[in-house]
Subunit: 338 residues, 4 copies
């Protein structure tokens, strides 16, 4: 921690800050410049981080020296984390994982059909929502536990891992029974109660970045999961909210290399939400792989016109197949498999 | 609902859309212009809203005619909603409500002291967090139920209403026992499970706008509360996230008249979070009142240097008193009391 | 300037940086902490500011100690700047200046009519665009020099100061001949050639903040004007671009106290552009005054339906009069006149 | 154009709007729904676009049917535009163009050295700034005409096309004499005087998207160039401004397929500005190609530590070579050459 003082800060101001730091076990290093005095602290920065130094008299600016996250960081663990799932599926290694399926689970038959299709085309994790976070209370809210049962049955029938969103602390235990991977949605990125509960469950989890979450905050939410005991965490970039309205969200492609540099966790890209339109999903998926992501999440539906939700951004199977072919070539061009 | 077709849309495309609308009980009105064909629909728009018309062949643009919210709208209810609380406190009428207190409940003695102080200075609702949404898992997470008991005891002792945040569906029943008003924080604006649970509780509730929530989405989240039976809803503007870093958030002052125009619900302004710095809280509070808000939420602490959280944006009692005096004059200038 | 090193920075890295700083006349103060080494520099920071320290091996983060602007800062000049114009009009003192008039100059008669009206209602500067920055090349681009002549004639006839936008370095001399105050529009906030030319002209100038300009960058653009010799600079907050689409722009009310704290220059608020809708202009104007601004800029048109531009956000004279009455009361409530 | 009326709109309101439209030569189609009346207009929409329909009594919402740009659109021209330059260099065809070089021209010798290097590594356009848009008036402002002469001389010596930024209407003629391609920088995206002057010059031009420019506005600025006679226009995505601070800008990768869909103009990606850090340039470049861009613009410097500007995001030649090798593989994976 470094404090930059105001030009009119007094010796008493300096003394007051130094004393406070010393009480917390830190050594203060006061450097008097021509225009500003600067105080650097040596010792356990965490103790000082919760003190609102900005309100101390004479303080102009407070600079953090250390990142506030630890377990998720590359400093904590140098090697890439690889998460091992059923059916030999890994997330995080050379092979790029592909999660695909409909936005919502809509019944056994359609789920089985799409499950077989996406597996045949190369997906290794089947997605489908049973509890749906919908902007309107009047929209379809998901099939609930019945949907989870369908997803589990289809997963076994097809021989593919499954992922579904969990929205409520009270559902965590239930959802854990039925699927291989939990998903925390963008809207729950700072639902800290849910993060703690999912952390405690130790079930593999994919954490979607929120619409206006910085990379730093995204990593802090992942830290919640890890600090509560869950080390099988995947990060998912799904587009952020900006002023641009030509697309539903702005896929933050920079976030891929940034997150890979700062953290050892695998990074998934979701171009379905990241663009909001099936026409742009292929471009976003290829870009994600070219930028270094470890997996894709893609909405696929046999008949988008009839989808219960997110039809506009769902690919028909034929388009998904085309996308996979294009992605495979790009993956090879960056020494990855798909 | 209106659909604008692509220039290359065929008659078969048009027929396909018209048929689908008819099945849903709507009448389609096809208007062939020079450069584009437009289809308008007459009938229950809600039925069509969930159909992903964007993916129908030939469609270029889909335009909503009606707002997706109903119960929260001025169309549904013309008169301003006034929420009646204990001790003769109203939120929503001529008198501007003032919620004040520390970010976190830190113990009985400090809470009692600050409670007496803010009441004496004109506040009529005492705030204090027992469950704290903290970005870091290593930061103080709140006193929990013990904190709720303190808040309740102080409220009774001082004779002032109380408000506290609820973060988890499992806490709703508990929190309802202890306080007069529930708060849903910015990070939970689209925690739909929580919205449903708080809606069902019928306890007066203040809904903070999320950091990147549009006014429309904010109203949709309020609609969740009302659709689940809770009509005592206050909206709270607390700053949005933008590119500007000179302040913690950007207080969206426009949102006050916009929300008042679109909805009958009372609108609170929180300049503590809206600016993030005690130096700007007074300006933000006065601006809120001048723009037409119905209440203020202000963080006040006896000793911000020692605050467990949000010290940088907390006012000392003397500054709070000064702020109240300034706000009172502005309130009178816009024919309100405070 | 402070440099925070990476955990793996070597002694050679440190030496390399220290040497470079010494060559530039700075003294380096190396502080070795438990987890990071920090280097502080004592001496003329400007010399170091242009060196890309981020690319030096071993560097993790570079922290500026001093603001990059000087002449515009409160440190440079403590007292508020007051700009003296014709007809006893000041911008920056106790009395709040009001600039009002149509978006575009549309002819002598309408300009005279609106000029008389707004003056009678309390405005002291008449606005009107002769060169219009229009998003579309097919929209009305302004009357050019003929418009300037009209504005000057009406100003004299009515006895009121005038302001108009200048968009092109080649127009600066011409525009200076006709008006009292130059305006630099939001889109030209970083048109540095124009800033230099207007700086050299020494004509009073109002600098509109750009749609995505931080307060710091806004002040840097003002610094361009002052560094080129022009000390009669007003800042104008006119709304920033955010994700919110309910209003044309988001009026950044926080920017008023922030700019007043950092700079001695007067701050104007433009709620016409800041909201984009005549219905919200009054709320924005009152909020601006309550937050401490020194002036208002308001679009007024005798018949908004027929306005050549910006009709949607223009007030009719009767609405302007109402707005002025409301603003006057708020001004008095914050010890200002209007 | 479509107008949605308020629920309380009167017949007189409707008549008033219909009359106005008829005067402008449009036919109005009034459709009375259950909750709203909608008016569609048939005929030349441009005539109506400049009328502020939002202020007409009874109007709730105005919907544009047609995009406001014409010449830049795919509707106007179906085939991709290919711009032919010297030395057989094309921008817009199967081969991806690579523009590379230092941020600023710093002298003949360094320019010659870097020019030879980047050409040898596969670049076909040499970049270098002679007039620099710098945030601070105290920073290096470029070598001016002397820099242009150096760039021209090096271009001839090396046998490579050249590009440089033009910032001022008064410089356009001068700059045209020395280089093959003009660049309009992000800060001048809505400097309409400059757009007109560069449009009239008919010199090939690359138009950088502004920091907060929507794709639609970006295309409108390109329309200015084309409407003034210049058809050799390239678009350049260089990152937008968002809330994220981990990178200098947020590279909007979605903008590539969106701009390619809406327009026939070639799209360049600038990952140097789009990320702001040399560490992420390679990922951004590969993502741009995978998403379908037609060219890259990359800052390369022999010694970034000594660069006059933008050192932090400049690649050393060895890193540039590595980047080119990676990009070439991705280009082939999407059936392009580089």
């Amino acid at each position: 921690m470094i404090i930059i003082l105001r030009p009119d800060a007094t010796e008493a101001n300096i003394e007051h800050i130094v004393e406070r730091a010393q009480k917390l076990g830190l050594k203060a290093n006061v450097s008097r410049g021509v225009e500003r005095t600067v105080i650097g602290f040596i010792g356990p920065e965490d103790a000082l981080r919760v003190v609102p130094l900005e309100v101390f008299p004479g303080v102009e600016q407070v600079v953090q020296v250390l990142a506030p996250y630890r377990l998720v960081s590359r400093e904590f663990k140098k090697e890439d984390t690889i998460i091992k799932l059923n059916y030999g599926t890994n997330v995080g290694g050379k092979k790029i994982a592909v999660m695909a399926g409909p936005c919502s689970i809509e019944g056994y038959e359609p789920m089985l059909s799409i499950g077989k299709t996406v597996k045949a085309m190369g997906a290794n994790i089947l997605r489908g929502g049973a509890f749906k976070p919908r902007t309107s209370p009047y929209d379809f809210q998901g099939m609930g536990e019945e949907g989870l049962k369908i997803l589990q049955a289809v997963g076994k029938e097809v021989g593919i891992c499954t992922i579904t969103e969990v929205m409520d602390t009270r559902q965590v235990e239930l959802v854990c029974k039925y699927v291989d991977v939990l998903q925390i949605g963008a809207r729950n990125i700072q639902n800290f109660s849910l993060l703690k509960e999912v952390g405690a469950s130790k079930k593999p989890v994919m954490l979607k970045r929120g619409m206006s979450t910085t990379v730093k905050e995204w990593l802090m939410s992942a830290e919640y999961l890890m600090a509560n005991g869950n080390f099988d965490v995947m990060l998912c970039e799904r587009g952020i909210r900006t002023f641009e309205t030509a697309t539903r969200n702005t896929l933050d492609i920079n976030a891929v290399p940034v997150a890979k540099k700062l953290s050892h966790l695998p990074v998934i890209v979701d171009p379905s939400h990241g663009t909001g339109s099936w026409e742009y999903v292929g471009a976003g998926a290829r870009a994600g792989i070219a930028a270094g992501c470890d997996g894709l999440m893609i909405e696929v539906h046999d008949n988008p016109e009839e989808a219960f939700s997110d039809g506009a951004q769902s690919l028909m199977p034929s388009k998904f197949q085309e996308m996979m072919a294009g992605c495979r070539r790009v993956a090879q061009a960056v020494d990855r498999d798909l």
